[in-house]
């Protein structure tokens, strides 16, 4: 399986709102910690090392 970068979110606007809301009133430091926990939870859900490496590459902008 490869990283799916095609549109896949069930409800994009709702997800985006929830993401921003989750950070509401947090300090930058607390936001950073939340993001780290979120990344780890999602990474575990994905599980596949190949997909995770592709996601890391995509996030770093090295995928063309």
């Amino acid at each position: 399986m490869h990283l799916n970068t095609a549109p896949n979110l069930e409800s994009p606007d709702d997800f985006y709102e929830a993401l921003i809301d989750a950070h509401r009133e947090l300090s930058t430091q607390a936001s950073e910690a939340l993001n780290a926990r979120l990344v780890l939870l999602l990474a575990n859900h994905i599980g596949s090392q190949r997909v995770l490496l592709e996601a890391l590459d995509a996030a770093r902008g090295t995928v063309r």
């Binding site: 950073e32 910690a33 780290a36 926990r37 990344v39 780890l40 939870l41 575990n44």
Partner: protein, 554 residues
């Protein structure tokens, strides 16, 4: 004391921390031309002594040169892994190490003021030896020394400092300084087991390269009168030692190892003073069930560490082993354990070459196999170090996020890394392996260290597989060993044929399960108890070919 007195019965009373061995003049020091020896081992630490015993057991006389006259000062390495115990069994001192050592299974991880989780090592049953024992290094060296002293082929020379090493085509010429002045000794091969600051490495102008960690750690060994279960406790960023890590581990004799991370700016001399150490220990105890317990400081040391290795563990006729060849962080107990595995790998190969059973090329495989293992150890140890002491703010953020999540999410516990405890490397890709031609499952692939299993002897006595393996090659066959295998050629090494279900029983079925045996399956084991070939059905040609390959005879 005299070295030979160590071997006499009743030497149990020796205080290994205090014993000082006599310098004894040898005839070699008066020889008109330098005496010639098959092997000189430099360094009488755990690696040098293990190698000396193994070689002597294989009929090779060894000279061991040590610049000092004592065993390990302080407890130092305290965690000895199952594979090391199995090697010590082969060397005749496994029972003493396992008998004195403390076994432990429970580990607890704390983050700030809370326990994040506890884990059980859940060691797989059906092995003669536990996953780990904790034992002060001076005991291990003492037991090895006593075993070595009982072997006439081992000649240990204290206060013999190597000050020169010249490589020649067929020998190494050593210059050795003694209290009586220098002498020269020629050796076919030299094993450099002389530690992280190896003299041999320096004399040959070689380097061990890698990554040095800018951090300091304090080891405080304290003696406490407190009966607590033997557990490994690890704190990340505890209230009593903010922003650093702390490890608590039990040793025999009521001694506890406490390891405090101090940071790079700590003054090593200052931190070694009891006035600095005692309040740290009291603060830790106040946060445990052991508060108000009386304790005394047994030994303290401030250390830094590097993860590094030499580019090649072989240079001409000099073979490097243990800390001389590679260095790791202490997290995961991979220093002494991997050094003993180096000795285990080297001894049978050196013996085979010196006895003329195998070509010099076999020694190249020592270097390649153990460089591969060192890379694996360094990788694990570097990862643990990066988790324990994050090197950037984002690394710290992720580390803390893992620890937070670990309180309630089991998946995050798999990411917590306070040291992945030493397991032996499977030597994938070694040129001594015969690649699989048949389908097998399980971990016992060519290159794997042989897994133990309970067995029964023909008279019904319970025993263990590893204790039944031969000093040379062992051919393990599921069922009756076919007559055609009875003439397999060990090229001078013994070949032991073991039928599973015939010569040895497998009452629990664990042996067949671990090696994925079906009737006729055949597994070839090297003298160091690594698998090197396996087949669903074997004939003499296949086994002979695999033995030749394992001796680098092709």
């Amino acid at each position: 004391m005299h070295w030979n007195e160590l071997a006499r019965p009743g030497a149990d009373a020796v205080d290994y921390q205090k014993v000082v061995f006599d310098y004894e003049r040898r005839a070699d020091q008066d020889a008109a031309t330098p005496a010639r020896r098959p092997v000189a081992i430099v360094g009488a630490g755990p690696v040098g002594l293990a190698l000396a015993i193994d070689l002597a057991q294989r009929g090779v006389p060894v000279v061991v040169l040590d610049n000092d006259s004592t065993l390990s000062a302080g407890s130092r390495a305290i965690c000895f892994a199952k594979r090391t115990l199995e090697i010590f069994d082969r060397l005749g001192c496994g029972d003493r190490v396992a008998g004195k050592g403390v076994s432990w299974n429970t580990g607890k991880v704390f983050f700030r003021d809370q326990q994040v989780y506890s884990f059980d090592l859940l060691p797989e049953t059906g092995h003669a030896r536990p996953a780990f024992v904790n034992l002060q290094q001076y005991y291990v060296e003492g037991y090895l020394a006593e075993r070595a002293a009982a072997l006439p082929l081992v000649d240990v020379r204290w206060r013999n400092t190597v000050s020169g090493a010249e490589q020649h085509d067929d020998h190494v010429m050593l210059t050795i300084d003694t209290p009586d002045g220098p002498y020269r000794l020629a050796a076919d091969y030299v094993a450099a087991c002389d530690g992280a600051r190896s003299t041999l490495r320096r004399l040959l102008g070689l380097e061990s390269r890698g990554r040095t960690f800018k951090d300091r750690f304090l080891i405080a060994d304290v003696r406490m009168r407190h009966e607590a279960p033997a557990e490994r406790w690890f704190w990340f960023d505890p209230e009593f030692h903010r922003n650093q890590s702390v490890l608590l581990h039990r040793q025999p004799d009521g001694v506890w190892r406490i390891d405090f991370q101090l940071g790079w700016d700590a003054d090593p001399e200052e931190e070694k003073r009891p006035e600095r150490i005692l309040p740290r220990v009291r603060a830790l105890l106040a946060h445990s069930a052991m508060k108000d317990v009386d304790f005394e400081l047994e030994w303290a040391s401030v250390y830094t560490f590097s993860c590094l290795r030499m580019d090649s563990f072989r240079h001409g006729r000099v073979l490097f082993a243990g800390d001389a060849a590679h260095g790791v962080s202490p997290f995961g107990a991979r220093g002494a354990n991997s050094g003993v595995q180096d000795a285990d790998n080297l001894a049978w190969k050196l013996a085979a070459v010196l006895h003329g059973h195998a070509p010099d090329a076999l020694l190249e495989t020592y270097a390649r196999e153990r460089e591969f293992a060192a890379d694996e150890n360094i990788r694990h140890s570097t990862r643990a170090t990066d988790f324990i002491t994050p090197k950037s703010s984002i690394s710290r953020v992720f580390r803390d996020a893992v620890l937070e999540l670990a309180k309630s999410h089991p998946f995050a516990r798999t990411l917590v890394n306070s040291g992945r405890l030493s397991t032996p490397a499977t030597l994938h890709g070694s040129s001594l392996n015969s690649p699989d031609v048949d389908a097998f499952r399980g971990a016992m692939a060519p290159g794997a260290p042989a897994a133990d299993a309970p067995v029964t002897l023909p008279d019904g006595t319970p025993s263990w597989l590893l204790s039944q393996l031969g000093a040379g090659f062992t051919v393990l066959v599921a069922g009756v060993v076919p007559d055609v295998l009875k003439d397999v050629d060990g090229h001078g090494l013994d070949v032991r044929l073991l039928g599973v279900g015939t010569d040895i029983g497998d009452p629990s079925g664990l042996l067949a399960q671990r090696y994925d045996l079906r009737p006729g399956s055949t597994v070839l084991l090297r003298p160091d108890q690594h698998v090197c070939a396996r087949w669903r059905a074997a004939d003499a040609a296949r086994v002979n070919g695999a033995i030749r390959r394992a001796l680098a005879l092709h």
